[in-house]
């Protein structure tokens, strides 16, 4: 691999890592609407649509490749991963739709007064709990990548700050 290709791969991995960390942090905050308060919960949740789009754009090549090969030769874990990702996407959409239907801050601020149908609130809570489980499974299936990338781009650079200059030269 050429130096430029290596730099591009490293830069992509760093971007992926930071986008995922931000999405995860936003998810944890939005899981507690009582504590983060409703305006923060609603507007941050809506902004997660943008986060989802960025995350999918970053992983576009994988999505296309696996989609094309889904019905042909494909590893078992990759297939499970793909199905899980689709379930996560559908559940995420359900969270957004149900959240929009029961919105008390964001939608009225945008001039939309939606009729609250029966059950959207319960659906919102149920889909959020399912999302927690799906996120756990999604994290488990990508654990190796998460550990490797955090080690390479977060932990190692911080540890290098504490290594004396003389030892850095011997390591190089």
């Amino acid at each position: 691999m050429s130096t430029e290709a290596i730099r591009n791969t490293a830069s992509q991995a760093k971007t992926k890592l930071w986008v995922d960390i931000l999405i995860f942090a936003a998810f944890l905050i939005t899981m507690e609407p009582d504590l983060s308060h409703l305006p923060v919960h609603e507007w941050l949740s809506l902004s997660m649509i943008f986060g989802m789009v960025v995350h999918l754009l970053i992983n576009w090549d994988w999505i296309v490749q696996v989609s094309q090969r889904f019905l042909s030769k494909l590893g078992g874990q990759t297939r499970i991963n793909y199905i899980l990702n689709w379930l996560f996407f559908i559940d995420g959409t359900l969270i957004m739709v149900s959240g929009i239907m029961i919105s008390e801050v964001a939608m009225p601020a945008l001039g939309l007064n939606l009729h609250i149908g029966r059950g959207w609130g319960e659906l919102h809570e149920l889909s959020t709990n399912v999302a927690l489980i799906l996120l756990g499974l999604h994290t488990a299936l990508h654990w190796n990548w998460i550990v490797t990338t955090i080690n390479r781009y977060l932990i190692q650079p911080v540890l290098k700050l504490f290594i004396p200059e003389s030892k850095k030269d011997s390591l190089a």
């Binding site: 504590l35 754009l57 996407f89 609250i116 994290t139 654990w143």
Partner: protein
């Protein structure tokens, strides 16, 4: 240009799914009402706060930032624990199985 068209595609799929969900809910409600399983849905409109009240609402003391932060840490901790349990349940057997396979092949 590529990124823009891909973003539009993602948002299109998202919108189609959302529309399907809303339509399904409406259809299910209509069928349930026509069959008599449930009463017709009440259109709940959010009440505007009544500003002509004689007795103003009680002013509750705002909990401290430290208390709220502590509560947030506890409840977020619960969510993180749920995810961690799932991660351990999947990752640990996988690594054990990998080690066994490596040991068997060597």
């Amino acid at each position: 240009m590529k990124a823009l068209s891909r973003s539009i595609l993602i948002l299109l799929v998202f919108t189609l799914l959302a529309a399907l969900m809303v339509a399904s809910d409406a259809a299910a409600s209509a069928v349930a009402v026509s069959v008599g399983v449930i009463d017709p849905p009440r259109v709940e409109r959010r009440e505007q706060p009544d500003t002509t009240q004689e007795n103003p609402p009680e002013v509750h003391e705002k909990p401290s930032t430290l208390y709220l932060a502590g509560r947030w840490v506890r409840s977020t901790g619960k969510n993180v624990i749920v995810m961690s349990v799932l991660v351990v349940l999947i990752v640990f057997p996988k690594s054990v199985f990998k080690r066994i396979r490596k040991g068997a092949s060597s």
